[in-house]
């Protein structure tokens, strides 16, 4: 972990300094790492650009195309989104930013079981990673948002989170001369609008792409980059005994479906009804969106409630027996792939070894040393623990 983060730290500092020295606010006209400029927009170039997938579903095996990405935003929109993302001006009290719960140093999560709300209260779900979030069709653990734009209105305007109002958010940006200028740069001098805020944040989040892990090298023909235990772990992962790959399907490592798997809540907490609370459908009780496993090494604790502190505990859940953690008196329509695979301790260790090959932060964005509001940007330090 330390070995991997140290170069990253040096690199981020190296990138952040020139910006700090630059007094004038000017958005980048260069697409971020991994993106090519075409017809004025930024488009991803990756290992997977040349591959197809059945029905463009983005699910398959090693050499399968990714799901469609939200792309084509301009370099300026992405860059503006980057500044907004770290700027606590977006919260009503001026002390929370998107990056409060989606911290770059923690795989764009917060390292907590439940995120911390506006008044320090513990929220009941774990902040998901934003790596590869632009490939997702539905967002939130309960899949209630169908776009990034829809999703972000949740935390921005929730009383428990950033607690802003649309009118107040718009006004605070309009009142800031730096932002007034930057929005003009990103949106052709059109009057500043909330729609532009959502577009810019969606643009930045969609640029957080992680497809250059050691696993990706293996998948594209470089078999020597994985160790023997890692390959064995991959084979357990995709075996029809462990069945991990049936839902965490490559190359996105999620099939983007809802699954009822019956993980435990924190001690003493009531069962989280998940998707049922949105749809009212009892068969979806305890159902959650299958999360990606990319950069999973960085995003502990795990599951919707953050109940599992380590990857080892997490993989062990799946061999604990179908429904073993479902509270007495609850009936859940458990997913058919939750069964009793009877994995050995050694196989669980191998699974963890494989999961760590999915780590790749090479397209970490430049973390701003200052933001246009003049407030202190949130969570722009890289931690080394």
């Amino acid at each position: 972990m330390q070995r991997r983060l140290r170069p990253l730290l040096l690199w981020v500092i190296g990138m952040a300094l020139p910006l700090a020295a630059d007094a004038e606010w000017r958005l980048s006209d260069i697409c971020p790492a991994g993106f090519h400029s075409r017809d004025g927009g930024c488009y991803l170039q990756s290992f997977y650009s040349g591959y197809a997938s059945l029905q463009e579903s983005g699910v398959g095996g090693l050499k399968t195309g990714m799901p469609p990405l939200r792309e084509g935003f301009t370099a300026q929109q992405i860059d503006l989104g980057r500044l907004l993302f770290f700027d606590p001006l977006l919260s009503v009290d001026g002390d929370m930013a998107c990056s409060s719960c989606h911290q770059p140093a923690r795989g764009f999560t917060d390292g907590l079981a439940g995120s911390v709300g506006r008044h320090g209260e513990a929220m009941h779900r774990s902040a998901p990673t934003l790596w590869n979030v632009g490939f997702l069709r539905e967002l939130f653990w309960d899949a209630r948002a169908k776009s990034l734009e829809e999703q972000m209105k949740g935390p921005l305007f929730s009383q428990e989170e950033m607690a802003n109002t649309p009118a107040q958010l718009l006004k605070s940006l309009q009142d800031n001369a730096n932002y007034e200028e930057l929005f003009k740069q990103a949106f052709n001098d059109e009057p500043l609008s909330l729609g532009q805020v959502y577009t810019a944040l969606a643009a930045f989040q969609s640029s957080l792409v992680s497809l250059g892990s050691r696993y990706d090298l293996y998948a594209n023909g470089f078999h020597e980059v994985l160790t023997q235990p890692e390959i064995e772990g991959m084979n357990v992962f995709r075996s029809f005994v462990a069945r991990c790959a049936e839902c965490h399907t490559p190359p996105a490592f999620t099939n983007q479906q809802i699954a009822v798997i019956g993980t435990p809540e924190p001690e003493g907490a009531a069962l989280d009804p998940g998707v049922q609370a949105i749809t009212g459908d009892a068969s979806q009780r305890g159902g959650f969106r299958v999360p990606t496993l990319r950069n999973i090494e960085l995003t502990a604790p795990y599951m919707h409630s953050g109940r599992f502190k380590t990857l080892r505990e997490t993989v062990a859940f799946y061999t604990g027996g179908r429904g073993h953690a479902v509270p007495k008196g609850e009936h859940l329509s458990l997913h058919w792939h939750i069964w009793e695979p009877d994995l050995t301790d050694h196989e669980l260790d191998l699974l963890v070894a494989f999961l760590k090959t999915l780590t790749d932060q090479s397209f970490m964005p430049v973390l701003p040393a200052k933001v246009p509001s003049g407030l202190t940007p949130v969570a722009t330090q890289i931690l080394t623990h």
């Binding site: 790492a33 050499k63 329509s333 090479s362």
Partner: protein, 464 residues
């Protein structure tokens, strides 16, 4: 016509011959490792597995590999899972063939594909493996033929989320499900012998999967006989919910042709057509269309079905004053609607087909295969082109040939490092900031020195 055929053959022979120009044969003898041979193999190679017992799981992540058992005097190569190994053969490569193996006692599947187009799985014997016998998933264009499978607690042959697959000349018996076509389009299931399973042939949509449809399936000229084995599926599995004694089940699939089958001795019903309500206690999926649409039932030979139906079917049949199950059961709901059709319906005992229309089509003789002529196109990864992939997958994300991106143009790098690939290889392991107008590049230290050198040489030779 006489001109067309030789031309076609010529093309075919070219297609077949092209990879074999460099193809090698790698022999594996008893006591040696099949995986060891796969690791050595390159695209187009054939691995010959001689009689013996092979206690291993084999994975194939390369394109164009054939694993071929050598059967001598009735002695087969046997892959033995001893009840503790997961899957016998796992493949993700395209153009994969596996044939002439006996596979037994694995915990998971005998032969399992995850993606991998143009697969061929034939002449294999699969006995008492855990979950599925043959299970290609996410594959396009495949052939499964002349396999014999028994003793499997889910589907013996399970085609899941695939397109363009032929399943023919297989024998499946003593399994829970014989042959299952699930969330798959364009499948021909022909000339198979499905007997003594819980259910013989199944054409399903399973909800909650990322690929949502099943349509354009032909079940033709199969023997579907005496499928009355008590269900021994794992608790919670989809097939564990299928009642025993059914020849053919079509659930939620569309455009299914049933023609020329001999369906007899199945004690609950010969053929059941149903919507998704058939499977209970499963999390619902609003994106899965639950209704079976446009069945086409042509001439089939059916008799002696429904002798001892399960309670639900018995209750249905009592409404038409019969105690035995039918040849054809269209379940309550959309399965009974007139978008479905049937010919010579008077020959069969039936339930729920009164409103079905008369089919215009009388046979499907014009359709000989569901596979794609010439195969599905693939991006083949070989030891020759993988460096190009690496360059495109990683380097080209930030370096265009002659245009500024977040990294300097490739031309500029070429000018700086002319004749010095090692210089690039060293730099990218731990990049430091060189130019004030560009950010430092992300480190590539996870690439081995050889790989960095390889891709550096490639970069110096890029010409556009």
């Amino acid at each position: 016509m006489t001109k067309i055929i030789p031309l076609g053959l010529l093309w075919l022979s070219l297609l077949v011959a092209a990879p074999s120009l460099m193809a090698a044969e790698i022999s594996v003898k008893d006591g040696e490792s099949i995986q060891g041979a796969v690791n050595k193999a390159e695209t187009g190679d054939v691995i010959l597995v001689y009689p013996g017992t092979y206690k291993e799981s084999v994975y194939v992540d390369k394109d164009g590999i054939t694993i071929r058992g050598v059967v001598q005097d009735g002695e087969w190569p046997v892959m033995e899972g001893e009840g503790k190994r997961n899957d016998a053969i796992l493949y993700s490569g395209n153009d994969f063939t596996v044939e002439w193996l006996t596979i037994t006692h694995y915990k998971g599947n005998a032969i399992m594909g995850q993606a991998g187009n143009n697969f061929v799985i034939r002449y294999n014997r699969v006995i008492d493996t855990g979950v599925y016998g043959i299970f290609p998933q996410f594959g396009k264009n495949g052939l499964i033929e002349y396999n014999v499978l028994s003793g499997i607690e889910d589907a013996a042959i399970y085609v899941g989320m695939c397109d363009n697959v032929d399943v023919r000349h297989n024998e499946v018996f003593d399994n829970v499900a014989g042959i299952e076509i699930e969330n798959t389009r364009h499948a021909l299931v022909e000339n198979n012998y499905a007997h003594d399973n819980t259910a013989g042939l199944l054409v399903f949509i399973t909800p909650g999967l990322p690929i949502k449809t099943t349509f354009d399936v032909i079940l033709r000229n199969n023997f579907v006989v005496n499928n009355n084995t008590a269900n021994f599926g794992a608790p919670g599995s989809i097939v564990s919910k299928v009642p025993a004694g059914i020849g053919i089940v079509v659930m939620a699939a569309d455009d299914v042709v049933v023609e020329g089958n001999i369906v007899s001795g199945n004690k609950t019903a010969g053929i059941v057509v149903t919507d998704l309500a058939f499977i209970t206690d499963i999390s619902s999926d609003p994106e899965s269309e639950p209704n079976p649409d446009r069945m086409v039932f042509l001439d089939n030979l059916m008799f002696d079905n429904g002798a001892d139906p399960v309670a639900d079917v018995k209750a249905l049949m009592l409404t038409q004053f019969s105690r035995s199950g039918p040849d054809i059961l269209a379940n309550l709901g959309s399965a009974q609607e007139p978008d479905n059709c049937i010919i010579n319906r008077e020959r069969y005992t039936s339930f729920g087909v009164k409103k079905w229309s008369e089919c215009e089509r009388k046979d499907t003789a014009d359709i000989t295969t569901m596979r794609i002529p010439g195969g599905a196109p693939n991006e083949v990864v070989t030891t020759e082109n993988r460096t190009k992939l690496l360059y495109q997958g990683i380097c080209a994300g930030c370096h265009a040939y002659n245009m500024r991106m977040i990294g300097p143009p490739t031309l500029t790098v070429q000018a700086l490092y002319r004749n010095d690939p090692q210089g690039i290889a060293d730099y990218i392991a731990a990049p430091h900031k060189v130019r004030t107008d560009y950010p430092a590049m992300p480190p590539q230290g996870h690439l081995s020195p050889d790989l960095r050198r390889e891709v550096a040489e490639f970069m110096l030779n890029v010409t556009k």
